[in-house]
Symmetry: C2
């Protein structure tokens, strides 16, 4: 009986929403829009609440979620046959999937893996949670326990939650997914730079230089930790328990082959998780964050015409996603499962030319505030409520998923009211279709630095310190999606409007200051830490000013 938990939560949630008892704290810019559209939205929300109730009644409970977040794929690289012909690799399963739901044509993410994932999990610009940089090796930092995540909200209304794949929210115990709302999780502690680049294989592919010990013999070397060895690889853990590293023995060397096995294992595990969760009575929130297409070694036999080491793995991943969607169909839960497929940010443009990916439509990629860094393909399917084959040109930010999914699950009440939530409730867009979005702006950060502000079709690249706003480049994204032709004719009227937007954002921050990033000794809560990982941790900790 999936009905059980969600119905009681719904009753509560609807009451609060209608009474407007304790509204979510949003950014100043949203309140500026609310001043213009609030009454209209409130009226629409009453209808939407009725619709959601009806859907829950029809389907015997709250919907399941299967959230697939793919790494480093630029807008247009998946889900579109025409673009498949351009790039020479095929994504037929994602193309079909896109036709079965709604294509969110203007999805904004953060420009890197860690911040996008933080934004989705917390509904907040990552900078508010102190997340300001992407970490590769040992850091002793991570998503703070004081952040409230979407799976934590969903637990409150009775969901079962699992996570499989990339996590990248830090190497401290409080940041582990099974300590952030997931009942169970299988994930690597770090990310693909370690897993597919810090190997001998990639020294030979010319993609990782100077790392492999076997590749250079410098007898004057002192520090043994400048090249970060001994990192923990993949672990698995359960809520309330500790984690165990899997598939690595003490002294064992990590290789590309082990990376490929890890990917295959996660694919097997996501299938098992789906099967297991679907068989239970409660609704589920299942997260699959694949490591592929990131990969830096050519396959033995190329799958695609493109053959690039990222492109080929995206084609493989597409087939795996096809298998997963077929499995969902088999479970009988497909009709009332919200499936979302999207990417976390643009391509790793640093490997353009050989990875097989390219800055296809928008300029820029991972790490950059340009559209190519923060615009991604995003498709969402919910047969019970979302029009098949639809598309929406409304703006959406990845943080909106937090607020929207919480509402759909009846968990809005559990969203904390003591901090800013950037995520807008976009349920109206999903249910009522294009033109019902509630966002026409995005603040684009690179780490802790606000680099761009997007409003409607206009985008200002913020001026460098000391330069006046009228000197800043403003682009029309429809006419110039690659942000190459700034026009003074835009800047001279919009400069002031953009600066007002920045002020509204800054005033909100002044009222609700950023929280701190979690900090701790890394690798706590792992049962079977290998001696080399223990050693790495000891040396890492040795320099800490405060222990």
């Amino acid at each position: 009986m999936k009905l059980l938990y969600s119905m009681s939560a719904l009753a509560l949630s609807a009451a609060v929403a209608l009474a407007e008892g304790d509204p979510i704290v949003h950014d100043g810019e949203f309140n500026y829009l609310r001043a213009q559209f609030g009454d209209q939205w409130d009226a629409q929300d009453v209808e939407i609440e009725q619709k959601l109730t009806q859907i829950r009644e029809t389907n015997g409970g709250s919907p399941n979620f299967l959230y697939i977040l793919i790494d480093d794929v630029s807008f247009g690289q998946m889900g579109n046959r025409t673009m498949n012909y351009v790039t020479g690799f095929d994504t037929p399963n994602i193309n079909n999937f896109a036709q079965e739901g709604m294509s969110l044509m203007r999805m904004y993410t953060e420009p890197s893996c860690t911040p996008t994932r933080t934004a989705m999990l917390t509904g907040r610009h990552p900078v508010r949670a102190g997340v300001d940089e992407v970490k590769v090796a040992l850091v002793g930092e991570g998503l703070s326990a004081q952040e409230v995540t979407l799976p934590e909200l969903l637990k409150e209304v009775g969901y079962n939650t699992s996570h499989v794949g990339k996590w990248h929210q830090g190497d401290i115990e409080e940041a582990y997914p099974h300590n952030q709302g997931f009942d169970w999780a299988a994930f690597p502690l770090h990310q693909q730079v370690q897993l597919s680049l810090m190997t001998e294989d990639t020294m030979r592919t010319n993609n990782m230089l100077g790392y492999a010990e076997s590749g250079q013999n410098n007898q004057f070397q002192l520090d043994q930790r400048f090249k970060p060895y001994g990192l923990v690889t993949g672990v698995e853990g359960e809520a309330g328990g500790t984690a165990r590293e899997v598939d690595m023995e003490p002294g064992e060397k990590w290789t590309q082959a082990k990376y490929e096995e890890m990917n295959e294992r996660y694919q097997r595990q996501i299938m098992e998780q789906l099967e297991g969760l679907a068989a239970k009575d409660e609704p589920f929130f299942l997260q699959y964050w694949p490591l592929y297409p990131l990969n830096f070694v050519y396959p033995e036999e190329a799958l695609s015409r493109n053959g690039g080491f990222h492109a080929d793995k995206l084609q493989l991943l597409d087939a795996w996603i096809g298998d997963l969607l077929a499995k969902l169909e088999e479970t009988g839960e497909a009709d009332n499962t919200i499936v979302m497929i999207m990417a976390d940010n643009g391509l790793m443009y640093h490997y353009e030319g050989t990875s097989g990916f390219n800055q296809l439509i928008y300029r820029g990629g991972k790490t950059q505030h340009l559209e190519g860094g923060v615009r991604t393909d995003a498709f969402i399917r919910w047969p019970a409520a979302i029009e098949p084959g639809s598309a929406a040109g409304d703006m959406v930010h990845v943080s909106d998923l937090f607020t929207t999914f919480a509402r759909i699950a009846g968990a809005t009440d559990f969203i904390p009211r003591d901090r800013v939530i950037d995520g807008i409730d976009q349920t109206a867009l999903l249910l009522e279709g294009e033109g019902n979005g509630r966002r026409d702006y995005v603040y684009v950060y690179e780490g802790p630095v606000l680099r761009s502000v997007v409003k409607q079709e206009f985008k200002m690249h913020l001026p460098t310190a000391g330069q006046p706003g009228a000197a800043a480049d403003v682009f029309n994204l429809y006419r110039d999606p690659r942000e190459e032709h700034a026009q003074v004719g835009y800047s001279l009227w919009s400069g002031a409007s953009f600066q007002d937007m920045v002020k509204r954002h800054q005033l909100t921050i002044a009222q609700y200051p950023h929280l701190a990033l979690g900090k701790d000794t890394p690798y706590n809560g792992i049962d079977n830490l290998r001696p080399e990982s223990q050693q790495a941790r000891e040396i890492f900790q040795s320099w800490q000013p405060v222990k």
Copy 2:
């Protein structure tokens, strides 16, 4: 009875094709492929001939053709909903049309209007016909009478032929469309630089500088012809007759309003022509080459979110094309009419930022050998024979339409055998689908200069004079569609193969030297030449070394 002419021609054509009596003279590179695939293709051609015969029998004759060639629109700018969202203008009619037939995903054109149109009309690289430059004003040059055009072939097998819109094949009498195979034609003598830029309106839009007399008052000016005034505008003519200029009185000033009226007139005329031709017994070849989207003045009220002066007119043109396709439906001829919609080359990138168009996917535009200059959207529909919703990644060059359409119409025998025909018969691709193309190469000229050679997924930018082939940039177009990351790993094996391709091309030219461009006094054969046009012609002729 459309059966009449085409059946007799078919009998002849099939006999010749099967007997291989007098093969078409192709470029060396095609013969190189033929040496590898000839037997297979010959066998397939027997089946295809049977299929064509059957289609003709079922439909009571040869198919009609409606060929729509749009000016200066880069690949991806029309026919694709996702891209509509990126660019902020909509092409719903072309999008739907694309779904009803085959999308040719790798259509190559020449990089400018005149050469692409010559290639389509003659089946030859324009340089072979002496066409080496794009002309704006008075030139006394044009497509030679010795060239054999597709409509001339189709006349031989009983087609009625009409042309409406841009022509741009020269200002001499032999080059006029009604002297090049069309029964009737309405067309401007020159092109849109004259028609939408050489006006006072565009001086004020900042798009045409220094042309309008009213915009600058330089009392030291002598030559009154440096700014080309008095050009002939739109004319209409019938085969065997003379032409008449329409809608311009002596002394009248050309304006943007007149340009807009001209566009509307052509749209009316194409509808009338379609209605008239469909009512006749014979099959028809109807050509619509709109002047829009080229246009350099903002509309009074923007249609599109983009609002750029090209983008907005493409959205308008899309609606007009919708009307035309609806009219075709009404006539009852849609099932046996081959409709093709494509563009002649990439955008006028010079107006990027304000035109609303941009180098969306491929880099470069009009006039350039880069993919952005020569890759265009191309959709072809033939309900009787082409799979709806299909797509093909095979390479096609615009000259292939000449040979392919001739074959489908049963006019192959009339293709001249005394010159090189670059156009490959791609009927197998249309009828049998993707993977049945017979071309994996294109030579890309800028005017008379061979600038690039494309083979399969590889493209060499030819080295500058004096540089060795191994120094030339070679790109993988799947991995790097914008041609930005040349890799020496490609050059060092493909350099020799590309140079062999150039040699095969040059040897063919040595065997069949280029023919001469037509030359004559401009504006002959126009009944009502205005005094200012007469004067312009007189001064133009005054300097000619040979009269």
